[in-house]
Amino acid sequence: QQQVKQSPQSLIVQKGGISIINCAYENTAFDYFPWYQQFPGKGPALLIAIRPDVSEKKEGRFTISFNKSAKQFSLHIMDSQPGDSATYFCAASIDAGNMLTFGGGTRLMVKP
């Protein structure tokens, strides 16, 4: 059973645009929602994470929006740059980061 659904599978954005990736989860026991960035040939790297007691978290050009009632969260990348081209994974877990369940991934391409 896929517990974290991610969309879209792929995304093309112009340089300077906003990239938006969405995730939905089913297990209401999840209490930690990180986003990971993965470049080809590398392991995923933690980008930003949120707990369900806040609705938004911003770090530089990256923002997580969280809707607990809808069981959805999203990643917004402002002023997208070609260097942001990578695969992004949302994830969720119980007990703040333990045993992550990953979404299927979104391949982002930022065109110059």
Partner: protein
């Protein structure tokens, strides 16, 4: 600090052969994870260690997969015998605290191709 080291980077084997992967976590990280990432999918947890004890191995196909973490540091993941569907990238990750509340650090993975 040094990252999570994994070897080999690539491995090609025939089905029914055996293979082993090695992981050296970041120094001092008590928790170690093995994930399987099939092409085009998100990583899927196989096993989690806390020091040298297994915390969760519910998703490890125990009829063919085994893993150990001797002395609570390095870990090896073994597949015997391999099947075609085992073709994937095997990622090792470690975290400082149980629960990974400060995030995991992943290695670059071992890409396994079973032919």
């Amino acid at each position: 600090e040094a990252g999570v080291a994994q070897s080999p980077r690539y491995k090609i084997i025939e089905k029914r052969q055996s293979v082993a992967f090695w992981c050296n976590p970041i120094s001092g990280h008590a928790t170690l994870y093995w994930y399987q990432q099939i092409l085009g999918q998100g990583p899927k947890l196989l096993i989690q260690f806390q020091n040298n004890g297994v915390v969760d191995d519910s998703q490890l196909p125990k009829d063919r997969f085994s893993a150990e973490r001797l002395k609570g540091v390095d870990s090896t993941l073994k597949i015997q015998p391999a099947k075609l569907e085992d073709s994937a990238v095997y990622l090792c990750a470690s975290s400082l605290f149980h629960g990974g509340r400060y995030g995991y650090t992943f290695g670059s993975g071992t890409r396994l191709t079973v032919v």
